[in-house]
């Protein structure tokens, strides 16, 4: 038994290390799809790490402002997310953001978190031909880099420190 | 004085587990039906934008109303000091909890978004009687739970009376709340009546007691214990009074409505030419649920017939079910009057016409599963707790009880 425990420990270390590699790999990899507007941008409306961790809270906060107070040009509007992150398909339209391999789905299926937004919300940007309100102040796709002096990009070290900080609060 | 001994419901294993298994089977089918409804959406039911509350709601309201009534026996025993009812108090509390749970399960599983239960429990609109009901239901579970505890545990026996009082008033509030769900709907002619709340209370007395008698007789038959004639006669006479009272309230309700010219349309619909609803009212509610049970309960020919008592209780429940059906579905089927003095000639939305409703199997199975949930809880509770007296023989001559 005693001899086994050493082997076990090593095996455990190996498995743990592999898992760690997988996780860090996921952190460094981007889920942004090539054919989307977002691919050509330096950063989202907030640093990527911030968005990864907090996008659901931002969305939830601004959704209440939109629904109850009628503020539609919010920084964190779901419509803007979709505008930017939906990938153009060969047919000329857009691929749904919750389709397999697309921006929302790839991450959510990786972390196994249910994605409920799209039970009700449109998964593709409203086509230019069927845009309802042209004169929307701030428009759907605008205001993206709002409040950002300069786009931020974090190294892996910085990112991990940020994670540690957030988790250890 | 003989001491009343309580013991867990005990009968041979195959009999108990067999019964339990069939109940669980019904529940599983009902859950499957609920899943089907939620997965495909409510289009697989007969409910629509015209009849928005259907058969599941009839079952749920029926069970919830009966739940508060089932507690009556305990109230009579410990609040009003009826010695003959005292030994039945524990079982009465258990039945009340079981019936309420069954009703709520049906109500919950019929929601458009049952996955948002947590939203329903955490965001309240205190102007809504529905939100108040959520609090009333949770409170009912707690208070009746404490009540059973007080009845069973000698150490806190002195709390029995105050808790009994609390439970009694809580159950009145609960049924008032359930009745008010309809009473507050000003827009619909069939519902807009203050008498709804007291009528629901008296309905609860009747259905609750009928449920109590049936389950008590079933439990004692199951376990091979005996119930005394005198005790049954007491319950039976009480049921008779309640059934009569329900009929009286129905009479007053319709007479009041007939006095208001504006309501003649809906009265005509329920009483004369509403097709299925008229039949349900006269045959289901009045004949099966009122007159026949009264005859069975009071006719000298059946004085000692236990079968007659059981049948009468069952008929009261069937009649009660029809009564709730007529109130819930019939009230919605009758068209709302948007333009008094005018008739609707054309509409794409069934304005001005009687809405059609044909319940589907899924709805019915879900509703029946609710009843099965109630009965399962009661069967398990009676097996695990000492709620049923070992014997309910009549007290000997000269004994207090």
């Amino acid at each position: 038994m005693r001899s086994l425990s050493g082997i076990r420990r090593i095996a455990g270390l190996l498995v743990g290390g592999a898992l760690l590699l997988l996780t860090t790999g996921a952190i460094s990899d981007t889920a942004v799809t090539k054919g989307s507007k977002a691919a050509g941008m330096d950063s989202c409306v907030a640093p990527t790490a911030d968005m990864r961790r907090n996008h659901m809270d931002y969305l939830k906060h601004d959704r209440d402002r939109t629904v109850h107070k009628g503020v539609r040009d919010t920084r964190n509007s779901l419509a803007a997310c979709i505008d930017c992150h939906a990938e153009k398909s060969e047919a000329g339209g857009y691929k749904p953001v919750n389709a397999e391999g697309q921006f929302c789905a790839s991450c959510h299926s990786y972390v196994a978190v249910n994605l409920t937004c799209f039970q009700c919300h449109s998964t593709t940007p409203q086509g230019a031909d069927e845009k309802v309100s042209q004169n929307a102040a701030g428009g759907a796709g605008l205001g993206l880099l709002h409040g950002m002096e300069q786009p931020l990009s974090l190294t892996r070290d910085e990112l991990q420190r940020l994670h540690a900080k957030v988790e250890g609060n | 004085m003989l001491k009343m001994k309580y013991r867990e419901l005990y009968c041979s294993s195959p009999r108990y587990w067999g019964g339990l298994a069939s109940l669980v089977f019904i529940i599983l089918i009902g859950l499957g039906a609920a899943f089907h409804m939620e997965h495909s959406g409510h289009y697989v039911t007969g409910m629509s934008n015209q009849i928005v509350w259907g058969l599941p709601h009839v079952f749920a309201i029926f069970l919830i109303v009966a739940a508060s009534g089932a507690l009556n026996v305990a109230s009579i025993g410990s609040v009003f000091g009826g010695p003959m009812y005292k030994p039945l108090g524990r079982f009465s509390g258990l039945l009340a909890i079981g019936l309420l749970a069954g009703g709520l399960v049906v109500l919950l599983l019929d929601l458009g978004r049952p996955d948002r239960l947590i939203v329903a429990m955490t965001t309240y609109n205190f102007k809504s009687i529905f939100a108040w009901n959520i609090i009333l239901y949770t409170g009912f579970f707690t208070i009746v739970g404490l009540y059973i505890w007080a009845m069973m545990d000698r150490k806190i026996a002195h709390l029995k009376r105050p808790i009994g009082f609390a439970a009694f008033f809580w159950r009145l509030a609960l049924t008032t709340g359930t009745g008010s769900i309809f009473g507050f709907l000003v827009a619909r002619e069939a519902y807009d009546a203050a008498i709804m709340a007291p009528m629901f209370i008296i309905m609860s007395f009747s259905y609750g007691l009928a449920f109590f008698i049936i389950t008590l007789m079933a439990a004692y038959w199951w376990a091979g214990r005996t119930i005394g004639d005198l005790r049954l006669a007491k319950l039976k006479n009480l049921l008779g009074v309640f059934v009569g009272a329900v009929l009286y309230f129905a009479l007053v309700y319709h007479l009041t409505n007939l006095y208001v010219t504006q309501h003649h349309g809906v009265e005509r619909f329920i009483l004369l030419d509403g097709g299925i609803y008229t039949s349900m009212f006269w045959i289901g509610q009045v004949l099966v649920g009122g007159i026949i049970p009264l005859f069975l309960l009071y006719s000298p020919a059946f004085t000692h017939s236990r079968f007659a008592i059981a049948v009468a209780s069952l008929l009261v429940l069937i009649g009660g079910f029809f009564q709730v059906y007529v109130i819930v579905i019939g009230g919605q089927a009758f068209p709302m009057s948007l333009f008094p003095g005018k008739e609707v000639v054309e509409s794409t939305f069934f304005d001005g016409v009687v809405a059609a409703y044909t319940p589907t199997a899924a709805e019915a199975l879900l509703g029946i599963a609710g009843v099965a949930v109630s009965m399962t809880l009661v069967a398990i509770g009676a097996r695990m707790l000492r709620v049923l007296p070992e014997t309910l023989e009549d007290p000997q001559e000269g004994e207090a009880a």
Binding site: G70, V71, S122, V132 | Y124, K342, V344, S347
Partner: protein, 257 residues
């Protein structure tokens, strides 16, 4: 000594208290910070305006359904698929209808009027009163709508509405328009094209369509602005609320009925 084990450990108690405090702060803080960062003190719709409609039934043409079609398109109702095998009758009873055309005849005089019927945007909406979760709500500018994020699909609001203005979504919805999210199991109704109003437009799809047809039966505007066309018209001519007996003070008024 062993007795001391029974005593509550003060350190632990203090720790628990602090943890609870911290957890509370962590829950509340992001919202507060966000609110501060965005300067949200007085933003969004105000009660200085109240949106409403005046419908002249004399101008509403028999057989014209332009308003209904425009509404269906604007709010993505035309994107909803009929479930496989559903009968016409059931589909008609179950599909959402935000606005519908009615033709009514006076039982005494025989006078016939046509009118569109939709959510009347009451000042005291029964649907808001009865909603258990507060999902059915009235915006500051008088628009009554459903917050689908908290709607549990109990349909009590549909029971309470005197106008049958609300619809329940009975089946899966695959395609939606961005401005009109929609999903199975929630209730919805006319929201006076709130997305247009929020974008600064003062028109609804139905009103636009009615004008485009040349009928001009629907007048839309701010009831509280005495200079607005609708306020002037309401002042100049007799109009009525449907089910005025309920004293709900509807935002949609009808004339010549």
């Amino acid at each position: 000594m062993s007795n001391r084990d029974d005593q509550p450990d003060m350190n632990r108690r203090a720790f628990l208290g602090q943890t609870a405090l911290a957890a509370g702060a962590a829950t509340v803080a992001p919202g507060v910070l966000l609110a501060v960062a965005n300067g949200e003190a007085d933003e969004g719709v105000t009660s200085d305006v109240r949106w409403g409609m005046l419908i002249d039934t004399n101008k509403c043409a028999d057989g014209c359904t332009a308003c209904v079609e425009a509404c269906d398109k604007e709010n993505g109702i035309d994107l909803i698929q009929r479930p496989q095998g559903q009968s016409d009758e059931m589909w008609n009873a179950q599909r959402p209808q935000w606005i519908r055309k009615l033709k009514v005849r006076d039982t005494q005089t025989g006078a016939v009027s046509n009118l569109p019927m939709m959510c009347q945007h009451c000042e005291h909406p029964p649907c808001v009163d009865v909603c258990p979760t507060g999902a059915s709500f009235k915006r500051a500018d008088g628009i009554v709508m459903v917050d689908r994020h908290t709607c549990i699909g109990c349909r009590y609001c549909m029971m309470a509405c005197p106008y049958k203005a609300r619809s329940f979504i009975h089946q899966d919805v695959v395609r939606q328009r961005t401005n009109a999210p929609r999903g199975k199991g929630c209730v919805e109704s006319c929201n006076l094209c709130a997305h247009r109003i929020d974008a600064g437009q003062e028109s609804t799809a139905c009103q636009e369509a009615c004008s485009a047809e040349g009928h001009k039966a629907i007048l839309f505007g701010d009831l509280k602005d005495p200079q607005s066309e609708i306020a002037q018209a309401l002042k100049a001519h007799e109009s009525r609320q449907i089910r005025g007996d309920l004293e709900l003070n509807t935002g949609v008024r009808y004339s010549n009925i």
